[in-house]
């Protein structure tokens, strides 16, 4: 308690624009990653290709070595997803791991102001840099699969057919990224216009300003044709109810945050 760990500021992760919204706190950054359904993972395919590329993947921060670690303590990034053989081969072949960037962004509101230039989003975003290697230890791999499955729906792992059999274990690949730096950005509050416009009555009486909250909404579960369980189980129903409420309240409450005058835009 009372201690806030922060990522070191290096050239690669120092936020130059909107500095006031930047955070280097591990807890804030890890929280954005862990609440994102999709992570965008960037890597360089090789020296002959000028372009970095991006894969959408599912992932979570966690610590297998120190499972009691809190969200604001040093954690690894475990990734499972639409892993093309390219990223896996590159990660497997590299000695210290494949250099990757992991990004997560959530839009919380459309900030509609007087002028197009002062339009914005309320949002949360996080970026991590690290070295990725495939997890080879079987126990750690199952632990990470459980961590990631339960990030999709809380407690889903134990409500499914487990443990994975040997064919499933060998067809699944989990990447573990050792994080070297990270940063986050958060924008909340209402609109912020410049005095030249807020003092112009023609404009202020014509242009509506405010925020449209935005959130991920989960709908009614649709059973598969093969489903044999009559009722939607509580671990799914309560997850949907809780997330919809949490997401809506976050997006609406974000609008109410008051920024100090010098931090507005």
């Amino acid at each position: 308690m009372g201690r806030t760990l922060t990522y070191p500021k290096r050239t690669s992760n120092t936020v130059n624009r909107y500095r006031h919204r930047a955070t280097y706190d591990l807890g804030a950054i890890h929280g954005i990653i862990n609440s994102s359904q999709v992570l965008h993972v960037s890597f360089n395919p090789g020296p002959s290709d000028p372009f970095p590329t991006i894969l959408p993947m599912i992932g979570q921060m966690g610590s297998f070595d120190y499972p009691s670690s809190g969200i604001n303590e040093p954690l690894d990034c475990y990734l499972h997803g639409y892993v093309s053989s390219r990223i896996m081969n590159l990660a497997r072949a590299s000695d210290e791991g494949l250099p990757i960037c992991v990004a997560a962004s959530k839009v919380d509101g459309l900030v509609l102001s007087l002028t197009p230039n002062s339009h914005s989003y309320n949002y949360r975003s996080a970026v991590l840099h690290g070295y990725a290697k495939p997890v080879t230890d079987e126990e750690e791999k199952v632990w990470a699969m459980q961590l990631i499955t339960n990030s999709v729906v809380t407690n889903r792992w134990e409500h499914s057919r487990i443990p994975p059999d040997s064919a499933e274990m060998s067809s699944t690949v989990i990447l573990k990224a050792r994080i070297v730096d990270g940063s986050g950005k958060i924008r909340d509050g209402s609109v912020s216009d410049e005095r030249k416009d807020t003092g112009n009555e023609e404009v202020t009486h014509r242009v509506w300003t405010g925020v449209v909250p935005v959130w991920e909404n989960f709908g009614e579960p649709i059973p598969s044709p093969e489903n044999r369980v009559s009722d939607v189980p509580d671990h799914i129903a309560s997850f949907i109810k809780r997330k919809n409420e949490q997401n809506r309240v976050y997006a609406e409450d974000a609008v109410k945050v008051q920024l100090p005058a010098e931090e507005q835009h």
Copy 2:
């Protein structure tokens, strides 16, 4: 009509995994980009940095030279956003443009199957590679600003204080990426389990399977403290109503799509 343009398959954009869900059609890929609130843009900061990095940005596909181009014709990618000076300086300094990767992903549903391994998302994702340069022509820049503003809320541009003044023009930067290749992936349908599990009654009578649809939901607009327009204007109210309906219907209809047997997973 009757002609479908596709991006060339190069090593960098060929989808190796889940090949059956891949698309190289310009229309499908551009549609995913244009309906995404946030794009993830990756670039390499420089030779001394081993990591590519990712910025969340707002962007749209469009053609200034051929404004009547349809979504399935060759288009440029215009980007406006949380542009750190680093990406701008790199793009400005490069002769043929900064090599970037642009990615967009949308989750349409949680696919909850019998085993953790066959869990999946219904989703749409797109990736583009191209060379980015700042737009210097003023007319093209205003055109792109309008394109991007109206992607946030349809027709918002003409309902705000326009045109941008010279200070706003010079403080705004728009990147234009000339696209060299692209690919998309789409997953829809219901769950797909293996026979070893669907034939196991203990499992099928215990584990609920189906899809939880997911979509971006827009809430009630919250006026800013400075707002002087009493009613939420129709361009905002109708946008919210239309998008919420479109998003919900897409997520729910995606579950109903029948995949050919050999394409399921």
